[in-house]
Symmetry: C2
Subunit: 214 residues, 2 copies
Amino acid sequence: MQTMTGSDFIKAFPIFGRVKDGLARELLSIGVQRRIPAQERLYSEGDGCSGIALVISGEIRVFKTGRTGREITLYEIGPGETCILNASCILSGSSYPADAVASTDTEILLLPADSFKSLVDEHREMRDFIFRLLSNRLAGVMELVEEVAFGRMDERLWDYIIEKSEDNRLAATHQKIANDLGTSREVVSRLLKDLERRGSIAMSRNEITILSVT
Amino acid sequence: MQTMTGSDFIKAFPIFGRVKDGLARELLSIGVQRRIPAQERLYSEGDGCSGIALVISGEIRVFKTGRTGREITLYEIGPGETCILNASCILSGSSYPADAVASTDTEILLLPADSFKSLVDEHREMRDFIFRLLSNRLAGVMELVEEVAFGRMDERLWDYIIEKSEDNRLAATHQKIANDLGTSREVVSRLLKDLERRGSIAMSRNEITILSVT
DNA sequence: GATCTTATGTGACAAAGTCACAGACATGTA
DNA sequence: TACATGTCTGTGACTTTGTCACATAAGATC
């Protein structure tokens, strides 16, 4: 069981070397494996942080919630990535600035805060990994600010459909799309209807099909 | 001259210890002091990074620009802080994801990328400093996403006036305010006019005076 | 099929961004 | 002083986006 996890782990985090002799070995011996079922909440805004989660498989969605209940996705954490906000609040001593929920069933390796801190001190790979991720997140969220502040919703929606669709199909409710984009369900419905009328997509319950990539 | 800079430096960065024996000494011997006049551009989006800037005095504004020319301020860098995006792109090897311009005359200590990297490797204070700043920026920009996505412009404007004013006065053109908030000049003008009509502020060219803090 | 739950559609209105242009104020120059 | 110039502010008309209220539709369960 531990070995199985190990092989999944090095697949997700090749950067930490092999199980036999790499940093991976140390991580696996320190960390605790956990399974998070889909829809389970990992953190709420304002929480303190007890440890850091390395995602082995699955996906975690990090988002903000407005007073009216609207949501916007800040980014998603996939295999080989870390819930960097954990790192953030462990290393800077602040509290968690957003909500995090598993989008799918997710396997994580949970490292206690202390161990994580000493690993960062001792291992250059660990530092590089964290810095890189933190930097990329920052750049990504900055990009998001630009889109939200200046972008038009119809374009953002179209880009979203293109990006999230697989095989020209996207399975999602209008509400889910709205929650990712930071708008309301009605707006998504209206804009999708426009796209449908123009012949760019076809719609059925819970599914959008891309017809023309114009 | 060097000594003078030194004392300014440790005032801005007490975290790095004293000039005589602290990390401060090393930083001062490696870094090059530079003065940036107000309005001068430090970086444009897409630039590579040659070094990292520690701000000794003054202020640097980091912002995004939309296609229509609108701007939004992501954050400002003051004394004792770093143009963390430099760090970000040095450590992660990406390019600069925003624009940076000196808001006032600014003094910085410029560290070459290589020296910076080895300092981060060798000194725990340096690592903590960078992590903390990077984390805080990330949290700050997330907060900004929330405000832009869910906040009402009249509230954001009012908060801005309260925060930026000194002694109940704020010297700024409507255009400048719009550039900070990520909206257009007309919207700011209209909302300010409303505030004036309601008796919350008084306006004259280039200046806003807060009358009632309701 | 009757009933429930969830998903989608839409009109009416409010908030915010865009465009076009009119004044108002400050400064410099003749 | 009078005038020209550049910057700053005001405003109406229109578009886009968000909110509210409610109607309709599509699956699921019994």
